[in-house]
Symmetry: C2
Subunit: 428 residues, 2 copies
């Protein structure tokens, strides 16, 4: 059988099949699992990429019935029961299939905004955000023109969900840590704006926590604009309704679109491109195909719409694994119907505040932040990462120094100088 | 005054001018100083990039008389006394100039080899080596063709100096740590070949240490070929004399070429593009221009040719700084003539062996390795990095696990799938 995707859903499905009589092929586009809930910390130069990633092979090293392949799946043929990929062995047949390829950020049909407002789904996205964030200060330090300097010191985050709130909340804090290093920057001109189309930030949280999050953000110096709609984004800035915000750095945390592999699985997809699944997580008409995680439009057995969060993906992976075992058994045992267990919601705001909601029990401020810290470290995959992240955070909070302020990639250097200095870049 | 380059030489010159009545502008192509002697550990997925780098601004944060600019210097005009760069402010005038832009690897006129045999001078180089090293195993794991699989498991390192020896020595060790994660690979087919044109590896070391290093490498499983000349490198492998070695992964550690900025400083350059300097480290005819580090062809006051190593660059930076102070003083004090203090040479071979030479006192094996560890940690710039590297190494040596096995960059993923999944890459 084949699992596509090594995120929370795919890994959980693989682990759930540990003792099953199956030969699993897990295919991922990268060699690493990313702990996505902490990606924003890499994007804001607070954690190193290796702190929140772990090789997929390493996670599954002890599980004898899995082989891991690195490559991009280009097509699923449900009639032929094969998966096509861009690397050897190119075609992989399956009897059972779990699709867990997640979602990408999307721009509500405005793909031309993409170059000006990167989103945050993969580690490469986080590198790109980090590069832009740090480069804005480098350029502001050297900028001669006053208007240009103000635009460089303006950071706009589009989208008031957890990712947007967490990104926006980190920007003033991390900028504060950089103050001593940049001498020409007028730090009073630092302007972080969070734009949300709805009435509240963190719309999935209870109203009083949304209000608290807004107040916390404002105390950190973030301007929060609700009921505000982005109508255009270009290299100069963001148009919000009729008003233009000159800004060189815009981050996108507003919309998602499920992996395009869904097109091969079902003609019936929702507006975010997600594949509707039965409560058993099967695709209607294909009892051997399961779709889980952010790629699935799932309504659980009680009628609850399953949110696109890591715990839901993990739980779905488990249920898909159990159902595959039952199908293989052919003992006629009815398949399990997915019931989402909401373990609670957490979002941090800046350095030591958070809001938390556990089925009606709510928390805010420092206590919620501490809880957030514990939960995230507990869930980080792999011992090493847990220890490294804890140390990194401890060091960060004690010293305010950012050890991971790397600007990398050829774009960080500007165009190469002429002559033998600029050797041609090796091709893939 | 202007310092170009934030490596060992440039930083040492800046620090040496800490109390001098000068306004220093330090320009670098990147925002970070790299601890180059440990770059090979990043290339072999043993250390994280942030472990061996530190922001240049952070190093100089307390030094009031330095401003740091990020950008590539494209031209030095010694008549006009200006430096041109690709970022604001584009033109920087100077009264005194220190050029410390180092060297790049070079292919003895065979630049077409570059795409097939990357060298190791910058952090981006190390990312590229790491990507190729790890991708070779990923591809070998999936490869169907037996000859292709053998070529993927063959790693050729060209150049038997310290960098080549250290790279080649790490490859069998790191590969060993990966064994459990790759199930299809026939590890007996792993073939690491070190190619050196001269009689001995580590030619700058005493003969018995060179012999010891060769024996150590061979015990680790490295095939050492001396008196062997590379006549061609292409995508299929390496031609050595008349024999062809099919190999998908070739690393270049054989030749250097100084930064092309030298062309603007002097018409008289040596065959590696380095600028000859007076014992005072000035360029003949330009008493206000100093060239230091790997970019300088320097013979010290005793007639010793100064080697291209980090301690020499640091010492030269110090002397250049002192001489600038004396020139500014105008007290007629004669300039200091550079005398290179050879603090010794160290090279590690694999996991716990090294050879060391301290002015005739030589060491080898485990003791030399331990010394190497101490020296390198001692010299790492910045406390955080020292602690992080020590922890990382301790963890690595205890568990053999590699936490930094990240394959990143778009090339790691293969070509993107069609459809909305592949958003256009944001431009610079």
């Amino acid at each position: 059988m084949v699992i596509i995707g090594g995120g929370f859903g795919g890994l959980s499905a693989a682990r759930g099949l540990r003792d099953a009589p199956v030969d699993i092929t897990l295919i991922d586009r990268t060699n690493h699992h990313v702990f996505q809930p902490l990606l924003y910390q890499v994007a804001t130069a607070s954690l190193a990429p290796s702190d929140i990633t772990v090789p997929i092979r390493w996670v599954l090293r002890a599980q004898e019935n899995v082989r891991v392949l690195l490559g991009t799946v280009t097509h699923v043929d449900v009639a032929e029961r094969t998966v096509r990929m861009d690397a050897e062995p190119h075609v992989v047949p399956y009897d059972y299939l779990v699709v867990a390829t997640g979602a990408r950020h999307a721009y509500f049909g405005n793909d031309r905004w993409a170059p000006h407002a990167p989103g945050l789904k993969t580690l490469d996205d986080a590198y790109e955000m980090r590069r832009r964030f740090l480069m804005a200060f480098e350029q502001a330090e050297a900028a001669v023109d006053e208007a240009e300097r103000r635009a460089l010191m303006t950071f706009v985050v589009v989208g008031g969900g957890p990712t947007g709130v967490e990104l926006a909340g980190m920007l003033p804090d991390v900028s504060r840590a950089l103050r001593r290093d940049f001498r020409n920057i007028d730090w009073t001109s630092l302007h972080v704006i969070l734009i949300e189309g709805g009435d509240h930030v963190l719309p999935s949280f209870p109203a009083h926590l949304s209000a608290r999050a807004k107040r916390d953000l404002e105390e950190l110096g973030v301007e929060v604009r609700t009921n505000a709609f982005v109508t255009n984004i270009d290299a100069r800035g963001v148009m919000v309704g009729d008003g233009f915000i000159p800004a060189r750095t815009v981050f996108w945390a507003a919309g998602n679109r499920a992996s395009p592999l869904g097109a091969g699985l079902s003609t019936d997809r929702d507006q975010a491109g997600r594949v509707p699944v039965l409560p058993t997580l099967q695709v209607a008409g294909h009892e051997n195909v399961f779709v889980i995680g952010d790629m699935a439009a799932a309504v659980d057995v009680r009628g609850v719409t399953v949110p696109s969060v890591a715990p839901a993906a993990t739980q779905m992976g488990n249920v898909a694994a159990q159902n595959i075992v039952r199908l293989i058994d052919r003992a006629g045992q009815p398949l399990e119907r997915f019931q989402y267990v909401n373990k609670g919601e957490l979002a941090t705001i800046g350095r030591h505040r958070a809001v938390a909601n556990f089925g009606g029990i709510t928390m805010q401020g420092y206590l919620a932040w501490f809880l957030w810290l514990l939960v995230h470290i507990m869930y980080l995959v792999g011992f090493r990462n847990r220890a490294a992240v804890l140390l990194q955070w401890a060091y960060m909070y004690l010293t305010y120094q950012r050890g991971v302020r790397l600007i990398t990639g050829s774009e960080a250097h500007g165009p190469p100088a002429s002559g033998e200095w600029s050797l041609p870049e090796p091709p893939p």
